[in-house]
Protein backbone atom coordinates (compact mmCIF):
# COMPACT_ATOMS: atom_id res chain seq x y z
CA UNK A 1 0.00 0.00 0.00
CA UNK A 2 1.50 3.33 -1.05
CA UNK A 3 0.80 6.78 0.34
CA UNK A 4 0.62 8.53 3.67
CA UNK A 5 -1.80 8.44 6.54
CA UNK A 6 -4.00 11.50 6.69
CA UNK A 7 -6.73 12.50 9.13
CA UNK A 8 -9.59 14.68 8.05
CA UNK A 9 -13.05 15.03 9.48
CA UNK A 10 -15.86 15.19 6.98
CA UNK A 11 -18.88 17.13 8.11
CA UNK A 12 -22.06 15.97 6.41
CA UNK A 13 -24.95 18.37 6.67
CA UNK A 14 -27.76 16.90 4.58
CA UNK A 15 -27.32 13.16 4.15
CA UNK A 16 -29.27 10.76 6.27
CA UNK A 17 -29.38 6.99 6.08
CA UNK A 18 -32.67 5.19 5.84
CA UNK A 19 -32.99 2.87 8.80
CA UNK A 20 -33.48 -0.61 7.37
CA UNK A 21 -35.63 -1.86 10.23
CA UNK A 22 -37.88 1.15 10.80
CA UNK A 23 -39.55 2.37 7.62
CA UNK A 24 -39.66 6.12 7.32
CA UNK A 25 -37.04 6.85 9.96
CA UNK A 26 -33.57 8.14 9.23
CA UNK A 27 -30.36 8.61 11.14
CA UNK A 28 -27.32 10.83 10.52
CA UNK A 29 -24.53 9.44 8.39
CA UNK A 30 -21.09 9.71 9.97
CA UNK A 31 -17.94 9.34 7.91
CA UNK A 32 -15.29 10.97 10.10
CA UNK A 33 -12.45 8.48 9.80
CA UNK A 34 -8.85 8.50 8.68
CA UNK A 35 -8.05 7.49 5.14
CA UNK A 36 -4.95 6.69 3.15
CA UNK A 37 -4.23 8.52 -0.06
CA UNK A 38 -2.42 7.31 -3.10
CA UNK A 39 0.59 8.50 -5.07
CA UNK A 40 -0.63 6.94 -8.31
CA UNK A 41 -0.42 9.10 -11.43
CA UNK A 42 -2.66 9.41 -14.44
CA UNK A 43 -6.31 9.05 -13.66
CA UNK A 44 -9.47 10.87 -12.80
CA UNK A 45 -9.31 14.22 -11.04
CA UNK A 46 -7.24 14.39 -7.87
CA UNK A 47 -7.77 16.60 -4.84
CA UNK A 48 -5.88 17.37 -1.64
CA UNK A 49 -8.72 17.30 0.86
CA UNK A 50 -12.32 16.25 1.22
CA UNK A 51 -13.12 19.93 1.68
CA UNK A 52 -12.00 20.39 -1.92
CA UNK A 53 -14.48 17.71 -3.01
CA UNK A 54 -17.22 19.64 -1.19
CA UNK A 55 -16.20 22.84 -2.95
CA UNK A 56 -16.26 21.16 -6.37
CA UNK A 57 -19.69 19.68 -5.69
CA UNK A 58 -21.08 22.99 -4.43
CA UNK A 59 -19.89 24.81 -7.54
CA UNK A 60 -21.46 22.22 -9.83
CA UNK A 61 -24.71 22.28 -7.89
CA UNK A 62 -24.85 26.08 -8.00
CA UNK A 63 -24.37 26.04 -11.76
CA UNK A 64 -26.97 23.28 -12.16
CA UNK A 65 -29.51 25.09 -10.00
CA UNK A 66 -28.99 28.36 -11.85
CA UNK A 67 -29.46 26.87 -15.31
CA UNK A 68 -31.76 23.84 -15.14
CA UNK A 69 -34.96 25.89 -14.79
CA UNK A 70 -33.85 28.93 -16.77
Amino acid sequence: MSGHKHQETIELKVLRVASPDVIGQTKPLSVAKPFCFSNAKGDLKKVDTYAEIRKIAAESAANFKANIKS
Partner: protein, 181 residues
Protein backbone atom coordinates in the same frame (compact mmCIF):
# COMPACT_ATOMS: atom_id res chain seq x y z
CA UNK B 1 -0.16 15.50 -1.68
CA UNK B 2 -3.24 14.63 -3.62
CA UNK B 3 -5.53 11.64 -3.83
CA UNK B 4 -7.98 10.44 -6.45
CA UNK B 5 -11.62 11.30 -5.78
CA UNK B 6 -12.76 7.92 -7.06
CA UNK B 7 -10.96 4.57 -7.28
CA UNK B 8 -8.78 5.29 -4.25
CA UNK B 9 -6.24 2.58 -3.80
CA UNK B 10 -4.80 0.68 -0.93
CA UNK B 11 -7.42 0.60 1.76
CA UNK B 12 -10.95 -0.70 1.36
CA UNK B 13 -14.34 0.39 0.10
CA UNK B 14 -14.52 3.00 2.89
CA UNK B 15 -12.13 5.47 1.27
CA UNK B 16 -14.40 5.82 -1.74
CA UNK B 17 -17.47 6.06 0.48
CA UNK B 18 -16.07 9.21 2.10
CA UNK B 19 -15.48 10.86 -1.28
CA UNK B 20 -18.92 10.06 -2.66
CA UNK B 21 -20.67 11.00 0.58
CA UNK B 22 -18.85 14.34 0.78
CA UNK B 23 -19.72 15.12 -2.84
CA UNK B 24 -23.39 14.15 -2.63
CA UNK B 25 -23.87 15.94 0.69
CA UNK B 26 -22.35 19.18 -0.54
CA UNK B 27 -24.22 19.06 -3.86
CA UNK B 28 -27.52 18.51 -2.03
CA UNK B 29 -26.82 21.30 0.42
CA UNK B 30 -26.08 23.74 -2.38
CA UNK B 31 -29.37 22.79 -4.07
CA UNK B 32 -31.08 23.98 -0.89
CA UNK B 33 -32.10 20.57 0.39
CA UNK B 34 -32.24 20.15 4.15
CA UNK B 35 -32.31 16.37 4.10
CA UNK B 36 -31.49 13.68 1.55
CA UNK B 37 -32.09 10.05 2.44
CA UNK B 38 -29.75 7.29 1.34
CA UNK B 39 -30.41 3.59 1.05
CA UNK B 40 -27.36 2.16 2.85
CA UNK B 41 -27.44 -1.01 0.77
CA UNK B 42 -27.60 0.87 -2.51
CA UNK B 43 -24.92 3.30 -1.39
CA UNK B 44 -22.55 0.51 -0.40
CA UNK B 45 -23.27 -1.32 -3.64
CA UNK B 46 -22.57 1.79 -5.74
CA UNK B 47 -19.24 2.42 -4.05
CA UNK B 48 -18.23 -1.24 -3.86
CA UNK B 49 -18.44 -1.34 -7.67
CA UNK B 50 -15.32 0.85 -7.69
CA UNK B 51 -13.40 -2.05 -6.17
CA UNK B 52 -14.75 -4.72 -8.50
CA UNK B 53 -11.91 -7.07 -9.50
CA UNK B 54 -13.57 -7.71 -12.85
CA UNK B 55 -13.58 -4.12 -14.08
CA UNK B 56 -14.98 -4.28 -17.63
CA UNK B 57 -11.75 -3.52 -19.47
CA UNK B 58 -9.50 -6.17 -20.91
CA UNK B 59 -6.41 -4.82 -19.13
CA UNK B 60 -8.16 -4.12 -15.86
CA UNK B 61 -8.90 -0.99 -13.88
CA UNK B 62 -5.40 0.46 -13.78
CA UNK B 63 -5.06 0.64 -17.56
CA UNK B 64 -8.61 1.77 -18.24
CA UNK B 65 -9.12 5.30 -19.56
CA UNK B 66 -10.65 7.94 -17.30
CA UNK B 67 -13.73 7.80 -19.51
CA UNK B 68 -14.25 4.13 -18.70
CA UNK B 69 -13.64 4.77 -15.01
CA UNK B 70 -16.13 7.64 -14.95
CA UNK B 71 -18.68 5.60 -16.92
CA UNK B 72 -18.25 2.60 -14.64
CA UNK B 73 -18.95 4.79 -11.61
CA UNK B 74 -21.94 6.41 -13.32
CA UNK B 75 -23.71 3.23 -14.43
CA UNK B 76 -23.26 1.47 -11.09
CA UNK B 77 -24.31 4.49 -9.04
CA UNK B 78 -27.49 4.97 -11.07
CA UNK B 79 -28.31 1.24 -11.14
CA UNK B 80 -27.71 0.88 -7.38
CA UNK B 81 -30.16 3.74 -6.64
CA UNK B 82 -28.49 4.90 -3.40
CA UNK B 83 -30.47 8.16 -3.14
CA UNK B 84 -34.05 7.48 -2.13
CA UNK B 85 -35.53 10.98 -2.18
CA UNK B 86 -36.43 12.43 -5.59
CA UNK B 87 -35.49 16.05 -6.18
CA UNK B 88 -38.36 18.47 -5.60
CA UNK B 89 -40.01 20.21 -8.55
CA UNK B 90 -38.97 23.60 -7.22
CA UNK B 91 -35.39 22.56 -7.95
CA UNK B 92 -35.79 20.78 -11.29
CA UNK B 93 -38.36 21.06 -14.12
CA UNK B 94 -41.56 19.03 -13.83
CA UNK B 95 -40.73 16.80 -16.79
CA UNK B 96 -37.36 15.91 -15.28
CA UNK B 97 -38.92 15.32 -11.87
CA UNK B 98 -41.31 12.86 -13.51
CA UNK B 99 -38.44 10.61 -14.63
CA UNK B 100 -38.10 7.69 -12.21
CA UNK B 101 -34.67 7.58 -10.53
CA UNK B 102 -33.74 11.01 -11.93
CA UNK B 103 -31.99 11.92 -8.66
CA UNK B 104 -29.35 9.22 -8.95
CA UNK B 105 -28.72 10.00 -12.60
CA UNK B 106 -28.33 13.72 -11.84
CA UNK B 107 -25.92 13.28 -8.92
CA UNK B 108 -23.86 10.60 -10.70
CA UNK B 109 -23.60 12.63 -13.90
CA UNK B 110 -22.22 15.65 -12.07
CA UNK B 111 -19.73 13.68 -10.03
CA UNK B 112 -18.52 11.77 -13.08
CA UNK B 113 -18.11 14.97 -15.08
CA UNK B 114 -16.31 16.70 -12.22
CA UNK B 115 -13.93 13.74 -11.96
CA UNK B 116 -13.17 14.04 -15.69
CA UNK B 117 -12.32 17.72 -15.29
CA UNK B 118 -8.52 17.89 -15.15
CA UNK B 119 -8.28 14.13 -15.50
CA UNK B 120 -5.09 12.87 -17.11
CA UNK B 121 -4.99 10.85 -20.30
CA UNK B 122 -1.91 8.77 -21.04
CA UNK B 123 -1.50 8.77 -24.83
CA UNK B 124 1.52 7.53 -26.73
CA UNK B 125 3.80 8.13 -23.76
CA UNK B 126 2.49 11.60 -23.11
CA UNK B 127 0.14 12.91 -20.44
CA UNK B 128 -2.73 15.02 -21.71
CA UNK B 129 -4.84 16.86 -19.16
CA UNK B 130 -8.52 17.51 -19.82
CA UNK B 131 -8.31 21.19 -18.85
CA UNK B 132 -11.84 22.16 -19.82
CA UNK B 133 -14.91 20.85 -18.04
CA UNK B 134 -17.65 19.17 -20.06
CA UNK B 135 -20.66 21.40 -20.61
CA UNK B 136 -23.94 20.39 -22.25
CA UNK B 137 -27.21 22.13 -23.05
CA UNK B 138 -30.20 21.89 -20.75
CA UNK B 139 -32.01 19.91 -23.45
CA UNK B 140 -29.15 17.43 -23.77
CA UNK B 141 -28.90 17.08 -20.01
CA UNK B 142 -32.59 16.28 -19.56
CA UNK B 143 -32.47 13.70 -22.37
CA UNK B 144 -29.30 12.19 -20.90
CA UNK B 145 -30.90 11.81 -17.48
CA UNK B 146 -34.01 10.24 -18.97
CA UNK B 147 -32.00 7.92 -21.23
CA UNK B 148 -29.84 6.52 -18.46
CA UNK B 149 -32.04 6.70 -15.38
CA UNK B 150 -32.89 3.01 -15.83
CA UNK B 151 -29.38 2.03 -16.83
CA UNK B 152 -28.18 -1.59 -16.85
CA UNK B 153 -24.42 -1.53 -16.18
CA UNK B 154 -23.48 -4.49 -18.38
CA UNK B 155 -25.49 -3.11 -21.29
CA UNK B 156 -24.79 0.62 -21.05
CA UNK B 157 -21.24 0.91 -19.68
CA UNK B 158 -19.55 1.20 -23.07
CA UNK B 159 -22.15 3.56 -24.50
CA UNK B 160 -21.75 5.93 -21.54
CA UNK B 161 -17.96 5.67 -21.79
CA UNK B 162 -18.01 6.60 -25.48
CA UNK B 163 -20.38 9.48 -24.77
CA UNK B 164 -18.17 10.85 -21.98
CA UNK B 165 -15.15 10.51 -24.25
CA UNK B 166 -16.70 12.48 -27.08
CA UNK B 167 -18.06 15.15 -24.73
CA UNK B 168 -14.60 15.54 -23.20
CA UNK B 169 -13.00 15.78 -26.64
CA UNK B 170 -15.56 18.38 -27.70
CA UNK B 171 -14.57 20.48 -24.68
CA UNK B 172 -10.85 19.76 -25.20
CA UNK B 173 -10.25 19.82 -28.98
CA UNK B 174 -6.53 19.06 -28.68
CA UNK B 175 -7.08 15.85 -26.69
CA UNK B 176 -8.46 13.31 -29.22
CA UNK B 177 -6.56 10.84 -31.30
CA UNK B 178 -6.52 11.85 -34.97
CA UNK B 179 -10.08 11.58 -36.30
CA UNK B 180 -9.50 9.79 -39.57
CA UNK B 181 -12.45 7.45 -40.16
Amino acid sequence: MSFKILYQEGTDVAANIYSVAAYVDSFAEQLGLTQLTLDPGGFTSAVAALKMPDFPHRDGLEKASPFKKAAHFFVWFVASKPIIDPLPSDVIPQDLAAVPNHQNSIFAYHMAIDCLHKAELHKNGQVVMLENKIKVSKHFFCDFVETFSSVVPAHHFKAVSLLFEQLAYKANPSAPYPEVI
